[in-house]
């Protein structure tokens, strides 16, 4: 039953597509319908987001506008399925219609279908079409297989290259003659270095040269890195090893958090802030976890920009992306303190949870009598005193606590007033916090 033969696309928790390895997002359009008359029961894919990557064409339901029934699931069409893109005919009719792009794809080997992309949004149709063509022709998916095998060869040669092991085939080409003996090894080394020098020179002649040689250079960079890492571990510790080591550490840290396909103004257009916001929500999860559920916004600014490489975003853009979270269903939130400090925190790290812990803290028999100070709360909750004070004051403003100002400083007590019946203030029920407090207080008076 080939009713819906379009593959499903995975989405992250904040609604961004999950990309394949080496897949890069190139363009996003909003309010796009995907239609196909050739497949019976083709799902209704109306006014969603269309994402063009180097590998696929993705259609996502647009859940930012609550009105649209987002029942349709996200789908993806690998560009490798495409057999033809029809050129758009300019006619009087097209002036009145929403721009559309038609293409032919073979979903299974037997039959091919024609699909239509209808763009009801304001996006630049021509630019999209140009990119569509470009990415289809570039056939990026074919390179993946190649790169993987090449990388495999590279790493194996690196691992097996002790001093003088001879196999050090750093940039061995297929045609290289294998020579025997020590002199052979030496000559091979020499040739290798020369060829590397040459390819480096060629690649950095101008930007176009670098672009065409980019993949080679990435592999070279990886090899150098591996080599240096293994070199600094072994006995040959040169004088400036420390410097290299520290640099290595730094870049390891950066590498671990890289965003391959950063949302940019150019790719996302009008959807820039919305998509940026979602990407940030996905990205921030790991740093947030490391920081213990709360992280300074400025730290995130640095980490996020580092992960984006050259695609720097301004502090204003970051702030806007964070403030958009209120509208989406994401697990993180922006929090502003009265002191002007802004942090990002998990929603689970929310006030309710903290209040529950504070309440438990102030209702045990000792603290019912003595109350708690900000430093008590800080030590028990394991947070900074400034933070603890903030929480206590919020809890006070919610009516959970009352304050007492004395020479000992601020102390906070549980607020008993909600439990007291205004009609009969002397009535103490034989349960509840008020009752416990009365018993504790009278016991202490007897002492």
């Amino acid at each position: 039953m080939a009713t819906n033969s379009l593959p499903k696309a995975d989405l992250t928790s904040s609604g961004r597509p999950v990309f394949l390895q080496n897949e890069i997002e190139c363009s996003i359009l909003s309010s796009v319908d995907l239609e196909c008359d050739d497949i019976p029961n083709f799902p209704l894919l109306k006014s969603g987001l269309l994402v063009l990557t180097t590998h696929r064409l993705l259609w996502l339901p647009d859940n930012s506008s609550s009105s649209s029934s987002s029942s349709a699931a996200a789908v993806a069409l690998p560009l490798s399925f495409l057999t033809h893109i029809f050129s758009t005919k300019k006619s009087v009719k097209t002036l009145f219609h929403s721009p559309r792009v038609r293409f032919q794809a073979s979903l299974d080997s037997s039959k091919s279908v024609v699909m239509t992309v209808v763009m009801r949004g304001k996006g630049d149709t021509d630019a999209f079409l140009a990119k569509f063509w470009e990415n289809w022709r570039a056939r990026a998916w074919e390179n993946d297989v190649q790169t993987q095998t090449q990388a495999g060869v590279g790493s194996s040669s690196v691992s097996g290259s002790g001093p003088g092991s001879g196999s050090g085939g750093f940039y061995t080409r297929e045609g290289a003659v294998r020579m025997v003996g020590v002199s052979g090894i030496l000559r091979k080394e020499q040739e290798m270095w020369e060829s590397t020098d040459k390819s480096l020179q060629e690649a950095f002649q101008d930007l176009n040269a670098l672009m065409s040689k980019a993949k080679e250079m990435v592999i070279l960079a990886e090899k150098m890195r591996q080599k240096l890492l293994s070199g600094s571990n072994s006995k040959s510790s040169a004088t400036n090893d420390d410097e290299v080591g520290s640099k290595e550490e730094m870049q390891d840290w950066l590498l671990s958090v890289g965003i391959v396909s950063p949302v940019t103004k150019e790719s996302a257009g009008a959807l820039y802030h919305q998509q940026l916001s979602r990407q940030l929500a996905d990205y921030v999860r790991i740093p947030l976890e490391r920081a213990g559920g709360m992280i300074n916004l400025i730290d995130v600014y640095c980490l996020f920009n580092r992960a984006r490489g050259t695609e720097l975003i301004s502090p204003d853009d970051l702030l806007r992306a964070c403030s958009l979270w209120e509208k989406f269903d994401v697990p993180v939130m922006l929090r502003k303190f009265d002191s002007g400090v802004m942090v990002i925190q998990n929603k689970s790290h929310s006030d309710e949870e903290v209040f529950a812990r504070i309440k438990a803290l102030v209702t045990n028999p000792d603290t019912l009598r003595t109350g708690i100070s900000a430093s008590d709360a800080a030590m028990t909750l394991g947070i900074a005193p400034g933070m603890a004070k903030e929480h206590l004051l919020t809890a006070e403003s919610k009516g959970l606590l009352c304050r007492d100002i004395s020479p000992d400083g601020f102390r906070f007590y549980i607020n008993l007033f909600p439990e007291i019946n205004t009609d009969d203030v002397y009535l103490v029920k034989d349960y509840g916090i008020y009752n416990t407090w009365v018993r504790v207080a009278s016991a202490s008076r007897l002492e």
């Binding site: 250079m217 040959s236 400025i298 502090p315 400090v341 603290t367 430093s375 900074a384 005193p385």
Partner: protein, 248 residues
């Protein structure tokens, strides 16, 4: 190699092995040297490209990701705008934003050692090290870059302790130094600056800053009247007369 019997044979074999090892070590050394040289060229070239062709690189997403990968692998900072005339004059352009990212990064990297408090001078020195041969970054540039971060809240600020200027990257709300001081104070009810520095081996700025914040928060009180002339910071809230709170 064919094995020959006898002591002589063993000696020859050992000598041959030594020879091979020597050659091998030589080759390995040359190899690392060459490697470092090529890596250096790679780095300078990449840096130059990052600076010159920034906009072209950004136009092509597929190439951009490869470029990032190269930069990350050989340890090149892809943020490398020149300051330029307009940045100097009006503060526009990416220069100060990029500097801001680099400053925060240094603060993050040194935080385990200094608790998020770094001398402005030290910061500049670290920045210059990373910027290699290009124009020097002045303290004024740093201050301007930091002021651009103001939009993101007051969690990052320049404070003065004595004559020194310090950059604080940990806001009070997230500062765990205060907890350590409170714990220390539990023993006697008070601490002195010297004691804090000695016990935690902090720099003097870090201790003074933390104690000042605790004063501002109303958690500490100053006592200058003691005989040894050292200022004592009393913490009434943790002193022995209040009951220690059991962990919930």
């Amino acid at each position: 190699m064919r094995r020959r019997p006898g002591i002589g044979g063993l000696q020859t074999a050992a000598a041959a092995r030594d020879q091979y090892r020597l050659v091998g070590e030589n080759v390995a050394k040359i190899r690392t040297d060459m490697m470092k040289e090529q890596l250096a060229t790679f780095r300078t070239q990449l840096e130059e490209f990052a600076r010159k062709h920034k906009n072209d690189i950004r136009k092509n997403p597929a190439f951009r990701s490869q470029f990032h990968e190269m930069c990350a692998k050989v340890g090149v900072d892809p943020l490398a705008s020149n300051k330029g005339f307009w940045a100097e004059l009006l503060g526009i352009g990416d220069f100060y934003y990029e500097l801001g990212v680099q400053i925060v990064e240094i603060c993050l990297a040194t935080r385990p050692h200094n608790g998020g408090l770094i001398n402005l001078q030290e910061l500049c020195i670290l920045l210059r090290q990373r910027k290699s041969d290009r124009e020097a970054v002045s303290e004024d540039d740093c201050l301007r870059a930091i002021s651009k971060l103001k939009v993101l809240g007051s969690g990052f600020e320049v404070i003065s302790v004595g004559k020194k200027k310090l950059v604080r990257s940990v806001p009070t709300e997230l500062n765990k130094d205060h907890n350590e001081i409170l714990e220390l104070a539990q023993a006697q009810g008070f601490v002195t600056v010297e004691e804090v520095e000695r016990r935690f081996s902090w720099t003097s700025g870090r201790a003074i800053d933390a104690l000042d914040t605790l004063l501002d928060e109303g958690l500490a009180m100053i006592d200058d009247g003691h005989r040894d002339g050292k200022r004592r910071y009393w913490f009434p809230c943790v002193s022995s007369n209040s009951t220690p709170v059991a962990d919930t």
